[in-house]
Symmetry: C2
Subunit: 122 residues, 2 copies
Amino acid sequence: MKYSKQRELIYKKLKANPIHPTAEEVYLQLKPEYPAISLATVYRNLNKLAQNNTIKKIQGLDASDRFDHNTHEHYHFICEKCHRVYDVDLELLSYINDNVSNYNVKSFDLLLKGICNNCKDL
Amino acid sequence: MKYSKQRELIYKKLKANPIHPTAEEVYLQLKPEYPAISLATVYRNLNKLAQNNTIKKIQGLDASDRFDHNTHEHYHFICEKCHRVYDVDLELLSYINDNVSNYNVKSFDLLLKGICNNCKDL
DNA sequence: TATAATAATGATAATTGTTATTAGTTTGGT
DNA sequence: ACCAAACTAATAACAATTATCATTATTATA
């Protein structure tokens, strides 16, 4: 994989970002400091980094794919009101390995939904 | 919810179908015996039945939403080659309840990916 | 250092999956 | 039978993503 300034900026932006942004959110945040950047480039590079396991792609939480620089084992909770995404620390890998034997599981994800504490009293 | 012939047919088709079809697959299977049916009607009714908990909507496995008439606890494994979807029996509910305390989890899903036995030698 | 090969880019068109709209039809309670 | 509500088919609209393409940047090699 060749170096590109754009990819470096995209990755840095993601690392600085705890909100598990969508490609478009990364794009919009990058635009002010690098106005020439293209949305397609952001999509391309986030997906490429995810293939590399440099970052993680979160699919199925809501309509858009989201990205996470944190590749350690953890899962995500999305608030159905405010759509904020939170990290959930949970050990599932061994549980899945021990209990799913009849399939050759290469990857899996756990997606949690509900109402977050910020929203519960609104 | 008022009765409609179309919804009955859609539900019957899903019940007869172990492959966790997408809305479009249900539509295509229904078309020959009910040519007037519309794709939008299939979407509408599958979503409505899922809201009722009559069926279950599986999101995040691949690009399309899939539907499952089986509402008992189980999860899904998708083959990354043939895109077939398999049932995975697993008890996770109590594990999640016991281990995720800081979020008010209303629903969750576990999505598994890999290569199925049919495809592993191809 | 010049050059060639390759992989990246920005801009935008195209595609895909899904939902909304609309005008008209079916249903069930009175 | 009448009426309002819920339904329908068809299709337009929409949002998210990917593909295309001409150009530019990066890397390897002569």
